[in-house]
């Protein structure tokens, strides 16, 4: 079966029966064919039996958990089947060597900036402000400076958001908690993207904790954060802009708390559906010459990184061509 992502928003239990994963709750049973699962996003309160986990692990399926606010909390990352000591050692070498690390950090930010510019141009906005941050990036001599260049670009980028959106206000990027609807969607989207990238890393030899732009010491799968930077404009920002402008989200899709704004259960389902459609959407790849899904593009990015690390081919970041 063609593998899909499953998003479990209802409360219930996941168990294994007759070599199938079943989702059960008071409303009934729902079998999920094991061969159709690519990864699972657990957003409701979910009980999983150890038999189910063992079975998922055997099939190499990651389960990503989110708390009730929609923040990513952790992943069930099955024992790796694709292990390559060589890749991990080389990955570390690229981190330890200042020049090599700087090259990768710059490449990630360059990809990120180019994609932000792409989003702006596509929406008829001026991208010169964002593009000019590339100069600062070029001259950066440390990872801190690279991050500075990224921040400059991002400020420029976000300053154009309000004129790209109609019907909802963005104002400024606010997180933990997001202060308005648009920020709530961006935060939720970024959490989902982070997990999607992690799933792809799992299917390669890369070690998810050795990263270049973000410090690897942050108790996180920080390589996922690095790669997610490149894909945020494509998979999250464009999605949010289209949901807002097509008036697909609105009244009833958000809950206002005393502290901030979050997607309501209804809104979350809508967002997940749209996010998943986006991951499955395909585009004709220029060098491969065939259609690949957006999700697959993330995997290809991982492969490019492996090639770079092994010295086969220099890494160039993904930049949207459409």
């Amino acid at each position: 079966m063609r593998k899909r992502n499953f998003y479990i928003v209802s409360d219930g239990k996941l168990r294994r029966k007759e070599n199938t994963i079943y989702f059960e709750n008071a409303e009934g049973k729902r079998p999920i064919p094991i061969n159709s699962i690519y990864s699972i996003y657990a957003l409701g309160s979910l009980t999983i039996t150890s038999q189910a986990l063992n079975y998922l692990a055997r099939e190499g399926i990651c389960v990503h958990f989110f708390n009730r606010y929609g923040y990513y909390t952790g992943s069930f990352y099955p024992r790796e089947s694709l292990i390559s000591g060589d890749v991990v050692v080389k990955q570390a070498e690229h981190y330890l060597d200042r020049e090599k690390r700087l090259y990768l950090a710059k490449a990630f930010v360059e990809g990120s900036i180019m994609n932000m510019a792409r989003v702006l141009r596509r929406n008829g906005e001026d991208d010169t402000g964002v593009i000019s941050a590339l100069q600062g990036l070029e001259n950066s001599e440390s990872v801190e400076e690279v991050m500075g260049a990224e921040a400059t670009a991002r400020t420029e980028y976000y300053s154009k958001f309000d004129s790209m959106l109609s019907g909802m206000k963005f104002e400024k990027r606010s997180r933990q908690p997001p202060e308005n609807e648009v920020n709530a969607m961006i935060s939720f989207g970024n959490s989902l993207l982070y997990s999607a990238v992690l799933t792809e890393i799992y299917h390669t030899q890369l070690h998810p904790a050795v990263s270049y732009l973000h410090e690897p010491s942050e108790r996180r799968f920080s390589l996922s954060l690095d790669l997610a930077e490149i894909f945020k404009p494509l998979l999250v920002d464009r999605l949010v802009i289209s949901l807002v402008n097509k008036k697909m989200v609105g009244e009833g899709d958000f809950d206002e708390d005393f502290k901030g704004v979050l997607l309501s259960e209804k809104g979350r389902k809508k967002f997940l559906k749209a996010f998943n459609e986006r991951l499955e959407r395909t585009v004709k790849h220029r060098t491969l010459g065939r259609n690949v899904s957006y999700q697959r593009l993330i995997r290809l990015e991982c492969y490019k990184l492996v090639k770079h690390i092994l010295g086969v081919e220099k890494y160039r970041p993904f930049v949207m061509w459409w």
Binding site: R2, Y7, S36
Partner: protein, 87 residues
């Protein structure tokens, strides 16, 4: 491709077939499964089924469609199972 599999097998094997197909496809109703498969998945499914059934007594029909959309699927009565990826 989108695949529909209907089977009529002897009672002692019917559960084996069901259990096997459950791993790959969505159960729709008794003796009927549907789902998206790749060419190689389908070969795997066919191989698995051949091992279970007795080819002198049982019968399994496999329909291959280009996509779910061309099936113009219509349901009368209650749909017993959902295939949505948001649960």
């Amino acid at each position: 491709m989108y695949v529909i599999i209907a089977y009529d097998v002897s009672v002692e094997r019917v559960n084996k077939v069901k259990k096997f197909l459950r791993k790959h496809l969505n159960w729709i109703q008794n003796s009927l499964f549907e789902g998206e498969l790749t060419q190689s998945d389908l070969e795997e499914v066919k191989m698995g089924l051949r091992e279970i059934i007795n080819e002198d007594e049982d019968m399994i029909v496999i329909y291959r469609l280009r996509s779910r959309d061309v099936a113009k699927r219509e349901v009368l009565g209650i749909e017993k199972s959902s295939v949505d990826e948001i649960i």
